[in-house]
């Protein structure tokens, strides 16, 4: 019984939130890793791309709510998601045409492209704040819970509650669908195969008649889809604020690097590793140990490894450790 209680506490505060957060990071890291794999640079503007797509989703959500369109109990934002994706694809293709294409043609080194993407970050940053403002936006409507903590307690008779939010399950389901579709696309379709070929060996791909501009365009489209979906899921689950999306860049890059840059499977695994470490290193285990240990061994302190303020330090430490000891990541990606 006590072990069960400990497990419920863990599930409520670590496992369920970390799975949702991990899925969001994984989708973000997939976008980053695809750009590294195909376009061969680290895209610092990825957080802003996510924020831009999400912003359009929010604007469309407001429009739909205003005209009374709703898909209760699911959030209206899911209905607006396709429009966000279209808007995000448009902005991403425009930046490619006006910024990255020039450097690609000039065969610039990756670091030049990285700096260019930093510039894109700041411009998109300003654009987003100009359109929707720097403040918090909540756009999650519809039902909030699949099961509430209080209901779980009365239903099962346990002393601890377990809450599962609608947004958390939507995150997981959407992430599974998107990732499955992506892997099917990369492994089974002709275009997907040409993308992988271009990523593996650019010159050989060109010789076998693959159109590089088309590969680049399709990559950007996929990246925009992934970014908008990831951003919308994160915003639904938590809240939308331009600055927090910029901050997401660090855990997402850490996830991509841990998994191995350019390796899609690695990005997903990396996302979950980062999410679980961030949450489990900063969680206070007092309650869990109180249930597991005999009564007189029960801890009086919080049993917390790191204060919650150090959340970002966790992903940064992992990033540094991986770069030091295994620069290619867990799944043999490119070294940075």
């Amino acid at each position: 019984m006590d072990i069960l209680h400990a497990l419920i506490v863990l599930a409520n505060f670590i496992i369920v939130p970390a799975i949702a957060y991990g899925s969001q990071l994984a989708l973000g890291a997939l976008g980053i890793t695809l750009v590294v794999g195909v376009l061969r640079f680290s895209n610092f503007a990825h957080g802003e791309t996510m924020a831009f797509g999400t912003m359009i989703v929010i604007l469309m959500t407001w429009l739909f709510t205003a005209i009374g369109l709703s898909i209760y109990p699911l959030p209206t934002a899911l209905l607006a998601l396709p429009f966000g994706i279209i808007g995000c694809i448009a902005i991403v293709l425009l930046t490619d045409k006006f910024v990255y294409k020039f450097y690609r043609k000039a065969k610039s080194t990756p670091v030049v492209l990285v700096m260019a993407s930093l510039g894109v970050t700041f411009i998109m940053n300003g654009l987003i704040r100009f359109i929707i403002g720097p403040g918090d936006q909540r756009f999650a409507d519809g039902a909030r819970f699949i099961i509430k903590a209080r209901d779980f307690k009365t239903m099962t008779g346990f002393k601890e509650g377990l809450a599962i939010k609608v947004t958390q399950s939507i995150t997981l389901v959407t992430a599974i669908i998107v990732v499955a579709a992506l892997f099917w696309f990369l492994n089974k379709t002709r275009t997907g195969k040409s993308m992988r070929a271009y990523s593996d060996n650019e010159d050989l791909a060109l010789l076998s008649g693959i159109n590089p501009e088309r590969v680049v365009m399709i990559t950007w489209i996929i990246v925009a889809i992934l970014a908008t979906v990831a951003g919308t899921l994160y915003g639904l689950d938590k809240t939308f604020k331009p600055f927090t999306y910029f901050q997401l860049l660090l855990p997402m890059f850490a996830a991509a690097v841990v998994g191995g840059l350019g390796n899609p499977v690695g990005a997903i695994v990396g996302g979950f590793i980062i999410a679980f470490s961030e949450i489990s290193f900063t969680y206070a285990y007092k309650k869990v140990f109180t249930y597991l240990l005999p009564a007189d061994w029960a801890p009086t302190s919080l049993v917390q490894l790191l204060s919650t303020d150090y959340k970002f330090a966790v992903s940064f430490s992992i990033l540094v450790l991986v770069l030091l000891f295994r620069p290619t990541g867990l799944f043999k990606g490119q070294s940075t």
Partner: protein, 394 residues
């Protein structure tokens, strides 16, 4: 510097002697900045008290009182000090109604009021740190210190039979001061604070903070934050994970947004914010309406009282010089004496002129305690059926 000081002192003396007929008071609030929407009614309430006294002709044998505004900006201490310095040295005010926010008020006190020996009465600075600040007996406030709020909170929570709580506060002067004041009061009363955790405003996700709070445990959670900032995120994460069922809300959390966002999820939770059911607040509101502004706006009655106290103290001392009347502020504010309500300033001035004593009640039930701050009346609320309802005043 020495010359400047001598000049300032000399001019202050001359001003003190010559201004029996025309007294000037500074009104230093943040007319620009984060609380600019509150400061207009505050300043108008202070000016209303000055006009009432001028029209009565009863102060110091018919003196008139004029208010001169200065901008404290609420957050920029340098700007607040410069504005106050100008009022003191070039406008030669005999007292200051202000400042508004705790940080700038402390700076004005140390850099202008004390060096120049000018009385300052703040209607809205609530930081406990100001209770212990060196003030040479010049600083008063008609608002209660958050140390007092900590005690009221302790009483309310203890009366519910709860003696183990978790506390989270917004990482600012306000939040930290309030949380520390509450913790010491609560522990002194025999309660246990399982954790006293800061949270940063403006984050997307507070589940980690709530995880730590839940692990520490406690029968309820005290959220000393802002309802439009991190306090909202903490509440949301806590309700989502079912970490706490009961909450306690200090003044920064109580607003209609609390009802709108959480409603029935927080039924049974309680809180408190400065407020009074004394008839004074209603009469300030009525007088304000006649003058075309909103007198029920937060801290407007306190501002009226701050200005009124300065003028009544001048009458009691028979002098408009800060050095003379500073010691009289506590006398006119507290019993014994005839109770004086808003709109009765002329009556109070007359009693003082005849050598009688008054107990100024004013718009906020003024009762100055300790180092010259309001004892503080609080409105205790409970969330019932998703609505904020008044339980009682204490």
């Amino acid at each position: 510097m020495k010359k400047l000081l001598i000049a300032t002192t000399a001019s202050a003396l001359i001003a003190g002697a010559a201004s029996a007929e025309d007294i000037k008071l500074g009104i230093v609030f943040g007319f620009t900045g984060p609380i600019e929407s509150l400061t207009q009614p505050m300043a108008q309430a202070a000016e209303m008290a000055m006009k009432e006294v001028s029209d009565s002709g009863a102060l110091l044998g018919g003196a008139t009182v004029e208010g001169i505004r200065g901008d404290s900006t609420c957050i920029d201490s340098a700007a607040a000090v410069a504005a106050t310095e100008r009022l003191v040295t070039s406008d030669k005010v005999n007292g200051i109604v202000g400042g508004d926010c705790s940080g700038v008020t402390g700076a004005m006190l140390q850099n202008v009021a004390r060096p120049n020996g000018i009385v300052m009465i703040s209607p809205s600075a609530t930081s406990p740190a100001l209770s212990t600040a060196e003030d040479d007996g010049l600083f008063f406030r008609t608002s209660p210190s958050d140390a007092r709020q900590g005690q009221v909170m302790t009483e309310i929570i203890m009366e519910r039979g709860i003696n183990s709580v978790a506390v989270t506060y917004t990482n600012s002067d306000y939040g930290k001061g309030l949380a520390d004041a509450f913790e010491s009061a609560f522990v002194a009363a025999g309660g246990t604070v399982t954790i006293n955790l800061a949270h940063e405003d403006g984050k997307a996700d507070y589940s980690a903070e709530v995880g730590a709070l839940a692990a520490a445990g406690g029968e309820l959670l005290v959220v000393a934050g802002y309802v439009d900032q991190g306090g909202d995120g903490i509440m949301r994460a806590s309700i989502d994970t079912g970490a706490f069922d009961l909450y306690h809300f200090p003044d920064g959390m109580i607003s209609t947004n609390l009802e709108d966002n959480f409603g029935n999820d927080i039924n049974g939770s309680q809180g408190q914010h400065p407020g009074t059911d004394s008839p004074g607040a209603a009469s300030v509101a009525a007088m304000a309406e006649a003058n075309g502004f909103d007198g029920s706006s937060p801290f407007a009655p306190e501002s009226y009282d701050a200005a009124a106290l300065i003028m009544l103290a001048m009458q009691a001392a028979g002098s408009s010089s800060s050095a003379d009347y500073a010691a009289k502020v506590m006398d006119v504010a507290n019993a014994p004496g005839v109770q004086i309500f808003p709109g009765e300033l002329a009556k109070g001035l007359k009693i003082l002129a005849d050598g009688g004593e008054i107990d100024y009640v004013g718009g906020s039930a003024v009762e100055l305690i300790g180092p010259g701050e309001s004892a503080g009346a609080y409105r205790q609320i409970e969330i019932k059926g998703g609505k904020i309802t008044t339980m009682k005043y204490r």
